[in-house]
């Protein structure tokens, strides 16, 4: 069995002149890259720069239009992922490819090429435990994957790849679903494995901190071309930013307009919500958000944030409690949202607030397609008007798409995010609820989105910002609340907010 043989050293990999076109778009243009055995190589680039396309070409998900792949000096034509696997290449995605209803142990042995007809669990367990002992971390093998935290799932993905004997690991934004601590742990493990020359790592990330702290080389892509890179040792954050965004300047952080406390815009009163499994996810949450104020909700993911947002977005029924907007009961219907100007940026927008098979223009029009400006005679939707609206939003928000009629699923991850932002921020916003609005966005987009949220606040919107990124909260929020196990357990004004205290409350009750 391959996964039990002592780890072989990873091969030398060379990618030469990779090019990939989608219609008229050159998603990837003559990109080359080398991976020496045991290297830790980061790929950086703005949304839509072609990072995912590059690794998909290496893994055989896409057929490149030109380009060669050399493994230990021999040329290989990889046309499907199985061939890549045979070469020792494995891929970990941003979104997990684990089977949620199965245990960690079942997920691990699933990929074995020589899975026996009848599985002797006692033997398999012993083998898995022996394997785990050689790893720098351990996991509970019996827990169903659905019940694991994001960081543990990501570790399990990595464990699986190693168990399957993969020697070149490609990771596409593996840390975007992790907290900073979890990310450091996972990347630390990978770094250790590369240092021992058991693995080569090629990782896509938007976080400079990660690239600078863990990678040894970087490649920077812009609009499908390699625009820079080299050993990390000689590079600083400003160097990387310059390569990534070229001559364009990064938006300056927006200034916080001094505002007297506005009227209460959003009010939660002992709100209690159950999750999909019927367990209490939000417990007795009470609080207010005033007009012209950003209230940040800090917390490790899975402490009820998602369920809270879903209730406010009208996607889930609360168990008990009341929600009021501008003093009136808020029934969470389309009519109420429109009347009160309530807008919601859910997390994972592709799943939660978009229809992937519909066009960009249609997705942009979900809130407005039935408004007089977009209809003929009041009830026939005008495609022309939708397209016109889409074009102006695409320009205003810099969405990188081939046109308003492109299906949403063909957009890169960051551009899906921008599409939803364009839809939710372009209206007349009185109450804005946003969860992790910058997850998966590049630096430029992040700066821009944060500016827009601040601008909405300055214009008098009440903003409830739920984020796992404490830096983001400290930059934007006027007040920070910590959510732990469904309760608001701690509150602090912006001045005097202490990272350490907040972190402590995020981990447990004081």
């Amino acid at each position: 069995m391959t996964s039990l043989t002592p780890p072989a050293t990873p091969p030398a990999v060379e990618v030469i002149g990779m090019t990939k076109r989608f219609g008229d778009l050159r998603a990837l243009d003559d990109v080359s890259l080398t991976l020496a055995p045991g290297s830790f190589h980061a790929i950086l680039g703005q949304n839509g720069a072609g990072k995912s396309t590059l690794v998909k070409c290496i893994m055989g998900y896409h057929r490149p239009d030109a380009g060669r792949l050399l493994v230990d000096g021999h040329e290989h034509v990889v046309v499907n992922p199985r061939q890549a696997h045979a070469l020792g290449f494995g891929m970990v995605y941003q979104h997990f490819t684990l089977v949620p209803s199965m245990s960690a142990a079942e997920n691990l042995i699933l990929g074995r090429a020589d899975l026996p007809a009848v599985i002797r669990w006692a033997e398999e367990r012993a083998r898995l435990e022996a394997f785990q002992r050689r790893m720098p971390f351990t996991l509970d093998l019996d827990r169903p994957v659905a019940g694991l935290a994001a960081g543990q799932k990501q570790k399990l993905e990595i464990l699986k790849q190693l168990f399957l004997g993969r020697r070149v690991l490609i990771l596409d934004e593996p840390t975007s679903v992790l907290t900073p601590d979890e990310a450091d742990q996972v990347l630390g493990i990978l770094r250790e494995l590369t240092a021992e020359n058991r693995l080569s790592v090629l990782i896509i990330t938007h976080k400079f901190r990660e690239a600078l702290a863990f990678a040894r080389e970087v490649t920077v892509l812009r609009a499908g071309r390699r625009v820079g890179g080299g050993p990390v040792a000689g590079l600083s954050r400003p160097d990387l930013v310059r390569m990534m965004i070229g001559s364009a300047a990064l938006a300056e952080p927006a200034t916080r307009a001094a505002r007297p406390g506005g009227a209460v815009a959003l009010e939660l009163e002992t709100l209690t919500v159950r999750n999909d499994k019927g367990l209490l996810a939000v417990r007795d949450a009470s609080g207010v958000v005033r007009a012209g104020e950003i209230v940040g909700v800090a917390g490790v993911s899975g402490n009820g944030q998602r369920e809270l947002v879903e209730v406010l977005a009208g996607q889930r029924e609360p168990e008990s409690g009341a929600i009021r907007v501008r003093g009136e009961a808020y029934r969470r219907t389309r009519t109420d949202m429109r009347r009160h100007g309530v807008f919601v940026l859910t997390e994972e927008p592709l799943h939660n607030s978009c229809v992937r098979g519909m066009s960009v223009a249609e997705n942009l029009a979900f809130r407005t397609f039935d408004e007089p400006a977009n209809t003929r005679g009041g009830w026939l939707v005008s495609r022309r008007a939708l397209r016109r609206q889409a074009r102006s939003l695409i320009d205003a928000y810099g969405i990188r798409t081939q046109g308003p009629d492109t299906r949403l699923e063909a957009l890169s991850g960051g551009n899906v995010q921008r599409t939803v932002l364009a839809r939710e921020l372009s209206g007349d916003v009185a109450v804005l609820i946003a969860q992790n609005p910058c997850a998966g966005l590049d630096v430029a987009a992040t700066a821009e989105i944060r500016n827009r949220i601040m601008a909405a606040r300055n214009a008098g919107a009440a903003v409830l910002l739920l984020s796992e990124d404490l830096d983001e909260l400290l930059e934007l929020a006027d007040r920070i609340v910590v959510m732990f196990e469904g309760r608001f357990v701690y509150e602090t004004p912006r001045d005097g907010a202490d990272l350490h205290t907040i972190g402590h409350h995020m981990a447990s009750h004081p």
Binding site: P81, R82, H85, T97, L98, V99, P100, S101, M102, E106, I109, L110, G111, L115, P116, A117, V118, I119, W121, R274, N275, D276, K277, G278, R316, E317, E319
Partner: protein
């Protein structure tokens, strides 16, 4: 009134539960397997009726009821293959296809079965577990079909196989995350087709029980929606074969309620009691659906849970 009185009702309901549950059991086990692979087969009612007709016909012509059971299974498997193959094509909806097969199966069975309504076919033997008792009711209640025993053995075996064999893991992976299955290089469509074929086979065998054991004749009113109720039962049983077994007994008991009450002389509202299984189905579906939480255990690739 009979000598056992009201206790007789209980005995009759329990006996009826065992007797009537067999088709529910086979169809629900088959559907569980199919749905575990991520596909719904609503055509099993048609498969059930077709199985009943072909079993009866073959038993009549050959004189061997067991050959009839086998042919019923093979006919069901054939229908499963049709469903699996068509649903494997791009943009085919398995719910619509299932309803088409349901209509085709019943129609075909009625058409081909016309000549078999009159003749008599040999029945399957009973296992007389109640021979020790002097009471005719107890003896009747413990006359158990070999097919019921087979189903009762099959349920734990299927459950074991889903957790402990390569094929079990493959089927569950395909049904729960087809992207993961593709990334592992497994043929998603083929696995689903095979699971549908196996499910069809079981439903066909379930049909043979109707015509060769209980009630033990062939006519067009033989199945009164058991195939459809069995599909609802799978949801109630949360895709767990053992739960399917218990739920089948429950449905069987509900079906036997009317006749059991009649046997002690309660004949008013007979048709109302006859509606018990349907009411039960409705009640269970209402109970197990909710806007607040998803169905625990539902294979996530199912059209109904996506």
């Amino acid at each position: 009134m009979t000598e056992l009185g009201w206790a007789g009702v209980l005995v009759a309901v329990a006996g009826g539960a065992v007797r009537v549950s067999t088709p529910y059991l086979f169809v629900s086990l088959g559907e569980t397997l199919t749905e575990k692979s991520g596909r719904v087969n609503l055509g099993l009612e048609g498969t059930l009726v077709l199985g009943a007709m072909s079993a009866y016909g073959v038993a009549h012509l050959s004189g061997s009821p067991w050959l009839g059971v086998l042919v019923a299974g093979v006919a069901g498997a054939g229908f499963g293959l049709g469903h699996g193959a068509v649903c494997g094509l791009a943009r085919v909806n398995d719910v619509a296809m299932g309803i088409a097969l349901f209509l085709l199966g019943t129609g075909l069975a009625f058409y081909l079965g016309k000549p078999f309504i009159e003749p008599v076919a040999p029945r399957l033997p009973h296992l007389a577990f109640g021979a020790w008792s002097a009471s005719p009711q107890v003896r009747a209640a413990l006359d158990v079909s070999p097919l019921f025993v087979a189903g009762a053995v099959l349920a734990p075996v299927l459950r074991w196989a889903l957790g402990n064999t390569k094929w079990g893991l493959v089927v569950r992976t395909v049904g729960d995350n087809s992207d993961a299955a593709k990334a592992l290089g497994w043929p998603v469509s083929l696995v689903r087709t095979l699971a549908t074929v196996a499910g069809g086979f079981l439903a066909g065998v379930g049909g043979s029980f109707l015509s060769l054991q209980y009630p033990g004749t062939w006519n067009e009113a033989l199945s009164s929606g058991q195939g459809l109720m069995a599909i609802a039962l799978v949801i109630f049983a949360r895709w767990d074969p053992m739960a399917c077994f218990y739920a089948s007994l429950l449905f069987g008991g509900a079906t036997a309620l009317g006749p059991a009450l009649q046997s002690v002389g309660v004949t008013t509202n007979y048709y109302l009691y006859g509606a018990a299984p349907y009411v039960l189905t409705l009640g269970l579906l209402v109970y197990s659906s909710s806007t607040r939480h998803t169905l625990v255990g539902a294979p996530s690739e199912l059209t109904i849970s996506r």
